[in-house]
Symmetry: C2
Subunit: 96 residues, 2 copies
């Protein structure tokens, strides 16, 4: 009847992050914070979870002298997102 909703994606902030990363090749921490409106602390924690799940990659480097964290979605991430959307359909119908 109802498909399971991947709990890693069924989170407002993590879903927003994935949504942003789907539409760009990569995005840095600050951009993600701006786009999602999240606090830095919350974003840091949620990015970590997405990385541990293998849904995104996180690269740390420097832009000039300033630290810079760059994120990108992985193939697994894309697949998980698509599955999540498909699962949602079982709750929502085609009305979305």
């Amino acid at each position: 009847m109802f498909k399971e909703l991947n709990p890693l994606l069924h989170s407002e902030l993590r879903l927003a992050v994935m949504s942003v990363l789907l539409s760009v090749e990569s995005a840095d921490f600050v951009y993600l914070r701006e786009q999602t409106g999240a606090t830095a602390g919350n974003l840091s924690v949620q990015l970590d979870k997405l990385q541990k799940a293998g849904y995104i990659t996180i690269e740390k480097g420097f832009k000039g002298k300033m630290p810079r964290t760059t994120c990108a979605i992985t193939q697994d991430g894309v697949a998980a997102f698509e599955e999540y959307v498909a699962a949602l359909r079982s709750y929502i119908g085609k009305g979305i």
Copy 2:
């Protein structure tokens, strides 16, 4: 950019309950438990929250000698569900 996801509806079980109630005039506790696969305890708690939010009505009566709890979605509930679905679109795109 991203619309807020009503936290009362952004819960797997509560969303499933609302989804069931949208498609029927009313449903009793046992039917909801069967359709959602939830434990009775969890269902009891979540129904309470939906009722307190005004999204469903809960009527307690008897079928013969056995207690019977009947639930139905309210107009507010329908509206909230539709808004939730609309908000989801901002994360999901038209891909759903």
